[in-house]
């Protein structure tokens, strides 16, 4: 009797988590659901790279489930289940919104429709996964802080990757990223790199990281810079390059042009890495 009651409570809690996940999918998915370049990417993107991107997203979702998914988890198996559910929520939410907005047309070829839904489901599933932190209660937030404290340096770096990936992905489909790199002079690109590093460092040093009230491990500014800011910016650059490659922006492009575009994308990427703690 007590067990049945506990199970029905668990189902009800999970249903509430799912509802939050849909809300998160809408909030985090809508900006890209309403971006024209994304619809084209779904059609014209290299299918192999799209599959790799879906896989990277899934691995990130499993990691995020560890540190703040929409439901309290007990182990890796549970995290995989939650990541699958988040993918499902992302796909359903994207399909529904894209249909209402007349962007997918079910009479069009299947691969066109599925391509658009697949690429749009990535930000939506991310939103679904982190919805709990946004709408969840205090208790749950404290659980995550504990989980993160246990995760150590690797966990912090993972969160930076997730944050950088999300923000970089949010801006990089647009033509503006490449255009900015064309328009900016070399000096302006260098200044942007310094500004990105400074902002990242201030966020890391002043705001601190998940599970920590103060600067990481009470370290001095120089140490934090080497242990968190530099790796954080390197992560933002690497994520920028990965996203550029995914969207085919590195193909037949000169290396200095790619580097400038990486620096442009690493600017939001660095901020994403720095504030991952607040969002995730």
């Amino acid at each position: 009797m007590a067990v049945t009651e506990m199970l029905s409570n668990a189902n009800r809690d999970y249903a509430r988590g799912l509802a939050r996940a849909f809300a998160g999918a809408l909030i985090f998915g809508l900006p890209l659901l309403m971006t024209m370049e994304m619809w084209l990417l779904g059609v014209a993107m290299h299918p192999g790279r799209l599959l790799v991107f879906l896989l990277v997203n899934f691995v990130t979702l499993v990691g995020l489930s560890r540190f703040g998914g929409f439901e309290h988890t007990y182990g890796l198996g549970d995290d995989v289940l939650d990541a699958l559910a988040a993918c499902g929520v992302g796909i359903i939410a994207s399909a529904a919104i894209l249909s209402v907005l007349a962007i997918v047309n079910w009479s069009a070829p299947l691969s066109e429709t599925v391509g658009k839904i697949a690429i749009e489901s990535i930000p939506a599933s991310f939103g679904a996964m982190i919805a709990r932190k946004q709408f969840g209660g205090e208790d749950e937030a404290r659980d995550e802080e504990e989980a993160l404290r246990g995760a150590g340096y690797g966990g912090q770096l993972f969160l930076m990757v997730a944050g950088a990936l999300f923000l970089a992905f949010n801006v990089s489909p647009t033509e503006e990223m490449v255009l900015l790199a064309y328009m900016m002079s070399t000096w302006q690109v260098l200044i942007l790199i310094i500004v990105s590093l400074l902002i990242l460092h201030l966020f890391v040093y002043r705001v601190g990281f998940a599970g920590q009230e103060e600067a990481p491990e009470g370290l001095g500014g120089g140490h934090v810079f080497l242990a968190y800011t530099i790796p954080g910016y390197a992560i933002a650059l690497a994520v920028g390059l990965y996203v550029l490659w995914t969207f085919g922006r590195t193909d037949d492009t000169a290396i200095d042009q790619i580097a400038a575009t990486m620096a442009v994308i690493a600017f939001p990427g660095a901020i994403g890495a720095a504030i991952a703690r607040l969002v995730v």
């Binding site: 879906l54 499902g88 599925v114 839904i117």
Partner: protein
Amino acid sequence: MAKAATRGKPVGAPLLEWLAAGVGLLLVIAVIVVIGRDAVSGATDGTPDLDVVATRVVAVSSGAVLEFEIRNHSAFTAAAVQIEGKLPGGETSIATVDYVPGRSVRRGGLQFSADPRGAELRVLGYQDP
């Protein structure tokens, strides 16, 4: 009570969790199969195969619009597709269609001051997306 269920010893994942994960798994597999088919089918930079046909003529206040359909017979998307229509009398109109995805149809119209019946339509060019 709810607290005991979430905080206490795991009772196993609730049924709804398995259901949500199962639906998610099915959707993920479906997406991978459809995209994977394209990925496996090989070549990724090919040439769009476009043709344009007139569909109907509609009279408007400043003349007439000749509506057309562009069909892309290949799997490769074309961007910035330019369509030209030429009347026997020499009047020429040009329209640009942003994107014609692979194996898809896009529609548009060319405006003329004279009656556009008998216009000659052709694709001028496109850009790789």
